[in-house]
Symmetry: C2
Subunit: 316 residues, 2 copies
């Protein structure tokens, strides 16, 4: 993080033709991007969106009404341009890539065994990191995986504590009895792996797309690329990084406050406020891709507005 660039950006915000602070969060976002990009006039020339997909052995516990085949079907839908994330990336100018991670080989059922071996976890992290374009100006992360709202709840419960039901919601369409069943599955999984700490939680309870997201977040940090995480499942995916060291997520924004009830608790625990709150609960990176428009708005104002001196406007 480049303090000098951030300070120069803050100083510029004070000179633009508006009352100080009147652009609210747009001002904070411009300064944040300045600090991470290391330039007082940050830009989003190249926005990259990565959607990682994986399958989950926990589906054997009957936690999701959709069959696991839907993960591959939705990956094909992404590849053919038919999903929400395709439309939102096209609208806001992000280049989308989809990385399907061994869909024919689901992780282990986390109520019975660790989801992944250490080697499998590191391999997925490496593939996530390798997918990051080091020349991108901002990175959008999303996911797809039938059953992964259960995995997300388990990661959140293991990292942030509380009760299993605090982190469980309807996911892709569970009703009330199904939600109670999901909570019971999450409680059993977390109890089985209670000795896992920090990044061990990722191997014990996560999935390949969660590990890939963690790898991409780390790769983005090394390349000083600010990250827009999507909603509930993306936030839970990086919870093991938060458990290892909260500062690992300092370059990450959260695009959207999910309708999943567990999201608020996670974002508060991480000290992050989502940019949008539109009742979405889709995943795929859709909330982050929509929030990219707000980032572009912040920078359009930051870079394009006249100063009081330039415009000949009295500054009070």
């Amino acid at each position: 993080y480049d303090d000098a660039a951030a300070e120069a950006a803050s100083a510029r915000q004070m000179e633009l033709t508006k009352p100080p602070g009147s652009l609210g969060r747009l001002e904070d976002l411009a300064v944040f991007l300045a600090g991470w990009q290391g330039r007082a006039r940050p830009e989003i020339g190249k926005a990259q969106a990565l959607v990682f997909a994986g399958n989950h052995g926990v589906c054997a516990q009957g936690v999701n009404p959709f069959p696991q085949e839907v993960t591959a079907q939705m990956v094909a839908n992404f590849e053919h341009g038919g999903a929400a994330i395709n439309q939102l990336c096209a609208l806001n100018g992000a280049a989308l890539s989809v990385v399907a991670l061994n869909l024919d080989r689901p992780t282990e059922d986390v109520t019975q065994a660790p989801a992944m071996t250490e080697a499998e976890t590191l391999d997925a992290m490496r593939r996530g990191g390798a997918a990051v374009d080091p020349t991108a100006d901002v990175l959008i992360l999303g996911e797809m995986g039938i059953g992964n709202s259960t995995i997300a709840a388990a990661l959140a419960h293991a990292v942030f504590g509380g009760a299993a039901r605090d982190w469980v919601g309807r996911g892709t369409g569970s009703d009330t009895p199904a939600i109670a069943h999901k909570a019971e599955v999450v409680a059993r999984a977390v109890a089985l792996h209670e000795r896992a700490k920090g990044l061990q939680i990722l191997a014990a309870l996560g999935g390949r797309e969660q590990a890939a997201i963690c790898g991409a977040v780390i790769a983005a940090r090394l390349a000083r690329i600010p990250v827009l995480l999507d909603g509930f499942i993306c936030t839970a995916a990086v919870a093991p990084l938060h458990a290892a060291r909260p500062a690992l997520l300092d370059h990450c924004l959260i695009g959207h406050a999910s309708a999943e009830p567990g999201h608020r608790g996670m974002t508060e625990a991480m000290g992050k406020r989502p940019i949008l709150d539109l009742g979405m609960a889709l995943g795929e990176g859709s909330g982050a891709a929509l929030a990219l428009g707000v980032l572009r708005g912040a920078l359009a104002c930051h870079n394009g507005m006249a100063t009081f001196a330039e415009a000949g406007v009295s500054d009070g």
Copy 2:
């Protein structure tokens, strides 16, 4: 409002490749636009943004630290492309026009007399309505006028009751003693004109840009154009229409929840939930122009996504 178009849009939302409801507010916005535009596949080919500017006699009461000349200076800044609204309209594809309303002739001081005569009010309403492009697909409304956060508070207080201080905030930069002074000015103005009802409130306590906004809202309704109102001052500007008949605002969305504390009470009283909440308090239409990006996102998904049948995805 075309119920058949709205129902067809709702039916399409159920067929798109996502769990039902998972796009949250984006789904509601697509259906809203379908109903008002009268087509199951609404579009935003032409987005018009109108910013109305006026000056206010209430500035004689010392309610604003900026001189009234700033209104004309900011109009020049809009015309030269240097303000926040210029950048946000360019980003989200809206054609911006600025209409300055007799800036050299401020309204009367509302603590002493009605702001405008009936003839002046109707003239400003007519000019607002005449500025609306009847072929636009969506209309964004904004305002500029030194002193008009005091006028907005007076309109809100007259229409929605409560105490003057409930509706008064820092505006373009008042500190705590100045806010107390503003509240006292608002209380005196509203007490002086307590017999005004409905649209009479607009003449008694409003300003030319407020009347123009009301005229534009009515013209948009006649042309079945959905409207994106900006924040605190725009919402207060149409409060007299709400007082006359709440359904007059059924085609209006509110773009942004203002940082001005009085905005929440107004939007709740009107039964409207702002689309964005980013701590902005600038006016100019900036919050509405940013929210246009969300509307475009809603329609990109609505019109561009594949259905379950088209994509060969199992729908559970």
